[in-house]
Symmetry: C2
Subunit: 247 residues, 2 copies
Amino acid sequence: MMNKDRILYVVGIGPGHMNNMTKEAIDALEDSEIIIGYKTYISLIEDMVKDKEIVESPMKGEVERCKMALELANNSKKVAIVSSGDPGVYGMAGIIYEVAERENIDIEIKVIPGVTAASAAASILGAPLMHDFAIISLSDLLTDWELIKRRVQLAAEGDFAICLYNPKSKKRVEHIKITRDIMLKFRAPETPVGIVKNAKRDDEEVFITNLKGMLDYPIDMFTVVLIGNSNTKIINGKMVTPRGYNL
Amino acid sequence: MMNKDRILYVVGIGPGHMNNMTKEAIDALEDSEIIIGYKTYISLIEDMVKDKEIVESPMKGEVERCKMALELANNSKKVAIVSSGDPGVYGMAGIIYEVAERENIDIEIKVIPGVTAASAAASILGAPLMHDFAIISLSDLLTDWELIKRRVQLAAEGDFAICLYNPKSKKRVEHIKITRDIMLKFRAPETPVGIVKNAKRDDEEVFITNLKGMLDYPIDMFTVVLIGNSNTKIINGKMVTPRGYNL
């Protein structure tokens, strides 16, 4: 039986600083006694959570972190577990539901959506995601690389604008190159590509290039790569995918 | 030459009420003298913009609306044009850049991203967009229906989770049925489907069903339809697409 008095907030803090959080997310943090999350994310909101109990956790170990959050909440603590961007997009929302089921912890789970890294990067680049688009993570830690490649190819075939998450890590340097090569089978080398690192953070870096040139730019795990569709163009230095209005 | 003193904000007000706006969006509205947008969107934020000059405009007429916003801003007014959700996703951001180019109006355009309808609906349903996903609009007002169908088919083939915008209008009732039938070629009839109308608004309606049953539920232009991938499941009444963690 669900104990509705016990609540775990899964909070999207948006791409960068508090400025990019929703009021709903701010209220959830304020209502919480304990805040759980990656060190990097906690540091982005540290001014807001000074008077809270903080549980910082390293990258990896997501399952354990979720279990801890659920157990604390089940013990009548008010807990928020934070994700950057939106917790529902490669974030903590899904795994929380899965661990709650495994651990048989039946409390209210409230997912609070946030501005995604894709939306943040798009707003900085101009308007590259104005038409149908696909979001694909190039990380093969949890997904078979063959499936990822297949998705890249099908999205390329469908002329979707594409936003790539986790495009490259220190150990995984070839995936972005292979992805670019698949794209080139379906789109012109001049197709605009936007590269945004640390969107909306102090150390934000932004490059607009194209399929041909994109591998010459710095790309890492804090970067998203946005690839235009066949109609995407550069207008006054911004990357714009037309919706199709007759101008 | 760009006049940096002149600025047009393109503001994402998020899916529903002020509660779902970012602080950056709230600040932009506060900084503006004139607010331009659809009547429905203005009504969602009316408490915030009481002391502003409001230009409500009907649906359609986007190009004229953009031109007006740009001209007012170019005449040194502080102007915000508002989109629900994120202005960079089927919103006003792209068309503003296009009209600015056509009209040769060279002012600063600041796009402020918002929580998308997709993220909002996902957060209500559970966590259906945790893995790679595609966003597709079924409206053929500006896009060829053959291209839309092709994208549906390729996204289905690639086992993307899918979020459908503009799934059905009064005049366009067959597209959602055809889309469902294409999906059924690639996914089981039991694949979970979430239907969310007016996400995060007072009159929100939420249904969780599956591919087989989805056409029996109310779907209209204020609805988004989220179709799970082959791993999506129902956990305690929520729709969850696993990321792939080993539990």
